[in-house]
C-alpha cells in the first residue's frame, strides 16, 4: 500500500526513540560511574565501573522501603481514583443533570493550583485526622489531582461509544452491572488503560505532598531521593541509580496495561 509513507513513519519513530532514550542512557551511564568520574571526565561508558550506588540503594533500608511505600500508596490511589471516576464519567457522558457542565469543569480546576498551596492545609488536616505518616494519607491527598484526570479521560473515551450500544444491551436483557462490566468496559479499554497509567504516574512522581505528609513509616522513594545532598556535595551516582530504579515499576505497569491501550475498540457481536 503506502510503502514510502510507512518507511517515513518508521524513520521518524526511530529518530524520536533515540532522542527519548539518550538522556536515559546517560542516566544509566552515570549510575555505574563513581561521583568523581561523573564530574570530571566525559566517557560514553564507565571507565571505572561500579555497582556501589545500586548497592547503597538495595542495602540501605530507607531506600528500598521507600520503594515499597511508594508502591503501596500509588496502588491505593489508582484503585480509588478509577473506582470513583468510572461511574462519574459514565454519568457525565450519558446524562444531563443539574450543574453537570459546571461540576465537570470544576473538577479540572483542582489541578490548576500549584500543589505548594495545599501543603500547610493538608498538613493541618491530616494531623487532625491522625493520619500523618500513613500510606492512606498520601493516597487520599493525591486524589485531588488524579480523580479529575481520570474522570476527564474516561469521559472522553466513553463518549466515543455510541449510546445505541447501551440500549441494545438493555433490550437483550442485560442487567446494568453485567452490561457495564462485560460489555461496556471492554469497549473503553484504551481509556481505562491510559487513565490507570496516568494515575499511577502522577502519583508516583509527586514529591511535595508525599514528603510533607510522611516522615518515617510511609516515606516514599521520591522523598528519599532528595536526601542525596551530603557534605561532599550531591551524590550524583546514587541519584542516577535511584532514577533508573524508579523507572522499573512504571515500565511494568505500562507493560501490563498495554493490552488495554492497544486493543482499543473491539466491537464484536453485541
Amino acid at each position: 500500500m503506502d510503502e514510502r509513507r510507512f518507511k517515513k513513519r518508521t524513520i521518524f519513530l526511530i529518530v524520536y526513540l533515540v532522542f527519548a532514550i539518550l538522556p536515559v542512557y546517560w542516566m544509566v551511564n552515570m549510575s555505574f560511574k563513581t561521583n568523581e568520574e561523573i564530574l570530571s571526565t566525559f566517557s560514553l561508558w564507565p571507565q571505572h565501573f561500579t555497582t556501589d550506588h545500586y548497592r547503597t540503594i538495595f542495602t540501605d533500608e530507607s531506600w528500598y522501603s521507600g520503594y515499597i511505600n511508594s508502591l503501596i500508596y500509588v496502588a491505593i490511589n489508582t484503585v480509588i481514583s478509577l473506582g470513583v471516576a468510572l461511574p462519574a464519567a459514565y454519568a457525565f457522558s450519558r446524562y444531563s443533570f443539574l450543574g453537570d457542565k459546571h461540576v465537570f469543569f470544576w473538577l479540572l480546576t483542582n489541578r490548576m493550583t500549584p500543589p505548594a498551596v495545599f501543603l500547610l492545609p493538608f498538613f493541618q488536616l491530616y494531623t487532625t485526622l491522625g493520619l500523618m505518616d500513613t500510606h492512606i494519607a498520601v493516597a487520599l491527598a493525591h486524589l485531588l489531582f488524579n480523580v479529575p484526570l481520570a474522570v476527564w479521560i474516561l469521559e472522553g473515551f466513553m463518549s466515543g461509544v455510541p449510546r445505541e450500544i447501551d440500549e441494545t444491551a438493555y433490550i437483550d436483557g442485560y442487567s446494568f452491572p453485567r452490561f457495564f462490566l462485560t460489555i461496556y468496559i471492554p469497549l473503553i479499554k484504551a481509556g481505562v488503560g491510559v487513565a490507570a497509567f496516568f494515575c499511577f504516574m502522577f502519583s508516583w512522581v509527586e514529591l511535595l505532598m508525599a514528603r510533607t505528609l510522611t516522615s518515617v513509616n510511609a516515606k516514599p522513594i521520591v522523598a528519599t531521593m532528595t536526601r542525596t545532598v551530603s557534605a561532599a556535595g550531591m551524590d550524583w551516582g546514587v541519584l542516577a541509580a535511584a532514577g533508573v530504579l524508579t523507572i522499573v515499576p512504571g515500565a511494568i505497569v505500562i507493560y501490563f496495561v498495554r493490552n488495554y491501550i492497544a486493543k482499543g475498540f473491539a466491537m464484536g457481536r453485541v
Partner: protein, 294 residues
C-alpha cells in the same frame, strides 16, 4: 440529546466528595490566610486586599508572567503536533507495540528533580553527552551563560519529558477508532491524508482537548525541572511564574502574601483555561452532538 436524569448525580457524588475533601477545606484555609497578616500563630491581623494589591503592583510580575506565557505557548506548539505524529508512528500491534510503549513512557516516570539533575549533566559541554556533542558540532553552547540557550534547553527538556503524555493519550484515542472506519475509508477511496483529516483527527478531538489543557496547566505551574536545571538563570531568563512567586513568598517568609499569590496564580490559570476550554468546545461542537453525547 442526552436524556436528563437527576439521579445520575448519585454516580457523581463519590468523585465530588473525594475532590472536595482534598480541595475545598485547604482552599478555604488559603483564602483565609490571604486576607490576613500572620505575624505569629497567635497574632493575626485582617488586612483585606492588601496582599493582592501588593502583588498586582509588582513590575517583575509582568515580566515573569510574560515569560511564562511564551514558554507555555511554545510548549503547546511543539508538544501537541509532535505527540500526534508520534502516536501515528507508534505500531498498533505486535511485540513492537509493547516495546515502543514502554520506551516512550519512560521519560514520564522519572521524578522531576531527577529529570532536572540529569539534564544538568547532560547539557554540560565537559561531562554531558548533549553538551559535548553540541560543542563538537561547533556550537558555543552554554545553558548557564547564554539566555537563549537556557530557554531552548528548558524547552527541550520539557519536550523530552512531556511529549509522551500527549502521545499516549493520542495513541489510546487512535486505538479506540473502530476498524470499520478505516475499511469504509478504503472503500471510499480516501487518501492517507484524508483518513487523517476526516477520521483520525476528528476522533482525537476529545483526547486532544485533555492533552492541551493538561500541558497548558502543568507548564504554567512548572517549577522543579527548570529550577533544578538553571535555577531560573541566567539572570531571570528562565524564571517562570511559579518560581518567581515562590521567591517572593519564601523571601518574605509570610503566609499571608504567599496565600494571596497562590490565589492570584490560581485565578490566572483558571481564566486562561476557561477561555481555552470554551474555545475548543466551540471548535469541536460536532463531537458533542455525536452518538453518545447527542
Amino acid at each position: 440529546m442526552k436524556p436528563v436524569n437527576q439521579k445520575a448525580w448519585l454516580l457523581v457524588v463519590p468523585v465530588v466528595l473525594c475532590v472536595a475533601f482534598s480541595a475545598i477545606l485547604p482552599l478555604m484555609t488559603v483564602v483565609n490566610y490571604s486576607v490576613q497578616d500572620i505575624i505569629s500563630p497567635e497574632r493575626r491581623v485582617f488586612v483585606g486586599t492588601e496582599w493582592f494589591k501588593a502583588v498586582m503592583r509588582d513590575d517583575d510580575l509582568i515580566g515573569a508572567l510574560g515569560r511564562q506565557m511564551v514558554f507555555s505557548l511554545a510548549v503547546l506548539a511543539v508538544e501537541i503536533p509532535l505527540g500526534i505524529a508520534l502516536a501515528l508512528a507508534m505500531p498498533a500491534k505486535g511485540w513492537t507495540s509493547s516495546a515502543v510503549l514502554v520506551l516512550v513512557a519512560i521519560s514520564l516516570l522519572i521524578p522531576w528533580n531527577v529529570v532536572g539533575t540529569i539534564w544538568q549533566i547532560y547539557g554540560r559541554t565537559d561531562i554531558g553527552l548533549m553538551g559535548a556533542a553540541l560543542a563538537a558540532l561547533g556550537f558555543d553552547y552554554s545553558y548557564t551563560g547564554n539566555a537563549t540557550h537556557a530557554w531552548l534547553t528548558v524547552l527541550l527538556m520539557d519536550v523530552w519529558h512531556w511529549t509522551p503524555l500527549v502521545a499516549l493519550l493520542c495513541y489510546a484515542g487512535l486505538r479506540a477508532i473502530p476498524d470499520a472506519y478505516y475499511q469504509a475509508a478504503s472503500i471510499d477511496g480516501a487518501s492517507k491524508f484524508a483518513v487523517f483529516r476526516y477520521i483520525q483527527l476528528p476522533k482525537l478531538r476529545g483526547v486532544l482537548m485533555i492533552a492541551v489543557l493538561l500541558r497548558f496547566m502543568d507548564s504554567f505551574m512548572i517549577y522543579t525541572e527548570p529550577f533544578v536545571l538553571t535555577g531560573g538563570g541566567p539572570g531571570n531568563a528562565t524564571t517562570f511564574l511559579s518560581q518567581y512567586l515562590t521567591q517572593k513568598a519564601v523571601g518574605q517568609f509570610d503566609l499571608g502574601p504567599a496565600a494571596a499569590f497562590s490565589l492570584i496564580y490560581f485565578l490566572i490559570i483558571l481564566l486562561l483555561c476557561f477561555i481555552l476550554y470554551n474555545w475548543m468546545q466551540r471548535v469541536g461542537t460536532a463531537d458533542k452532538t455525536e452518538a453518545g453525547h447527542g
